[in-house]
Symmetry: C2
Subunit: 438 residues, 2 copies
Amino acid sequence: MSGRKTIEPTHRYRNNDKAVGVGNAFWDLSERNGLAGIVAELDDGRPGVLHTEDGHEFTNFTCCSYLDLDSHPEVIEGAVAALRRFGVLDHCIPRSRVQIPALLELEASLGELFGSDVVAAISAGVASAGLLPLIASGHLGNGVRPLMVFDKNCHVSMAGAKPACADETEVVSCGHHDLTFLQDMCKRYERVAYVVDGSDSLGGYAPVRELAELQEKYGLLVYYDDSHSLSAYGERGIGYVRTHCPVLDERTITVATLNKAFGTSGAVILLDGYPKDALRVVERFAGALSYSQPMNTAAVGASLASAEIHRTEELTELQGRLRANIALFDSHIKTEQTGTTFPIRLVPMSDETVIEAGRRVYRAGFHVSPVFFPIVPRGTAGLRVMLRAGQTEEQIRGLCAALVEVGVPQAAPVSEQASVPEQTSVPEQASVSVEGAR
Amino acid sequence: MSGRKTIEPTHRYRNNDKAVGVGNAFWDLSERNGLAGIVAELDDGRPGVLHTEDGHEFTNFTCCSYLDLDSHPEVIEGAVAALRRFGVLDHCIPRSRVQIPALLELEASLGELFGSDVVAAISAGVASAGLLPLIASGHLGNGVRPLMVFDKNCHVSMAGAKPACADETEVVSCGHHDLTFLQDMCKRYERVAYVVDGSDSLGGYAPVRELAELQEKYGLLVYYDDSHSLSAYGERGIGYVRTHCPVLDERTITVATLNKAFGTSGAVILLDGYPKDALRVVERFAGALSYSQPMNTAAVGASLASAEIHRTEELTELQGRLRANIALFDSHIKTEQTGTTFPIRLVPMSDETVIEAGRRVYRAGFHVSPVFFPIVPRGTAGLRVMLRAGQTEEQIRGLCAALVEVGVPQAAPVSEQASVPEQTSVPEQASVSVEGAR
């Protein structure tokens, strides 16, 4: 072994030694306390209720199917119908050569629903991994190679693209929602592209209107992952970004999963104002979109069915039920997210008590996810709660009672609280790191 | 605009200016000649036959479903059954926290079938994007940070991980199957990891036995993507690598799509001899595997059904029919791949005639894909033909006649040719660049 070269890693954008080291500690601790590594079957009639092999029944408050569309009978039948219609899960050849009409039908339907051009992908992560390097080189955008600014809290599915982007352009990270820094960069570079969660996994929205001011003044391109608000928020479920962003043209690119509130599989890329040959560039060169397997026909059929539901009163009702459930939770337990439309609540705990609290709440019949370092900075730990349209009052009150049992203060009576507002802009959330959180 | 910083890209591992520039020329030319951008419906009874809206019917000889399992009724019914059983496409929460039993059942079944540990992923590309950086940092392997050597022809789904790997270790590329270079590196570095197609998209296999010698002598880790041979080759469809590699332990990692000959969606990671906590590292830290949507239940159900077929005589029969179809094609048209078990043939053409020839063959009722620069180096263009078990003699003879029509020489009579051998090692294929090819 003597004389062999040793390797010094650069660790400019990523560091597995750190990530695996602290991450393993997080997951091992969660698992030892029965809060991770759980295998359970879904209940036949009650959405979001599961039971383990040893008979423990629990309501899952860590599931992103915010409108319960995942178990909607029409969505499942839509999947079945497409399988029978096409007779294959996928006809295995790149779309650019030959395609069956499945994806085109879906893209047309979702394009009409969301009022944009739509390109389908198998996941938001795959979409981001393919799009961000194209934005980095200027091929998706206005042709000018931009400075890429990644919000320090952006989801890892975007942050993971930093090394690839850094081979096509300059890449920096900025403080969470640091508009001052962004404006600075806009003055110094011919073009800047900012990568950020439209809606993140810990209860916050991006400052969409403030960013639009920079977009209008400097031509800032903003790349949003709005996975947590699609369907759950906005008319016909267009999501938070598209509801509040006045700059829906080539300066705004949105990606969102169909796997959360939309209730199916796959993802959509939402583009406005790009000419046809730019859309071709996406189909041909956005990484896996060009060479890898697409959404299968079951996902397409389910998504077509879900899209139909989005066109009806049912979607509005479901959003209303979700808001009511959020308000009900807020009436019992106060958090920093109280009063917002976001379906996620982070119930504060200390680093020392969060795991034990989570364990006891789980034993009481409610799965909530403890988040602590490295998912969030030390000192900001908590139990993450995800509200859904299909949860019953009984389930929500039960959860709140279990939280109070483990020391969470009960909220002040309802009259002292603001009700959950209709679809309006929300104040910036506390800065948290979302590394690894889904 | 004066005083604004201009950006000089490093372009160390990737270059969108080049890729998009030449790639667009390739696709535009293919499309203008009607050989790309085709939208068609699958025929109801005849696998691999499609028709366009304007009534053109064609047999698709560019489809990777080598055993026609994609349209097998049991596979489709397996998908439907799973949808009804689980009642959702996916229960949206990271597997590491809570999972329904679907993926575990699939991994157990495929683990038994392939004789390895199995971790599922939504695509081979997603698996590679997640695993390669873990190999780069030594967390998947023997703990030593290796030199990563990427075969210059390895599929872009692996090559795309170079920038991320380069932030965790040293990354180089080597000439196609350059064993001498690899041995050199093995002598100079404490550990080396080599990334290569086990079976590639232009008709070649990796030199598995020669690589095994380096694995045994120096502990070389080899990462194979065997997507083109799983199911189509080997007892119970274990594929080319696992049939011929005598080093099935932590020194060999294989990934393969389930979207080609296996007939469904998703992908598998095949690992041997890794302790449980290493498998945990994969589940927790291999990129999108930890945070992104998994294979949906339709894909799981279809894959369970396909796995059952793999356990029966039917798989052997299908492989036999595929081999017979390959031999039939070889009896008419001679290529460099003649006599090999690989289901892909590259019919040589000149750079000037390949598109027109492809167009005429398509008008005659057979879709073959013209491959030319940049998919292959200039001067090595050809029409790529993919053989499948379900193709009829009539279809194959018809294709061969159409190829002869466009100037391809007819092969010498059958008695002068070697028959397609049973499952044995094959000589190295001509060096070609497979950038962008699926």
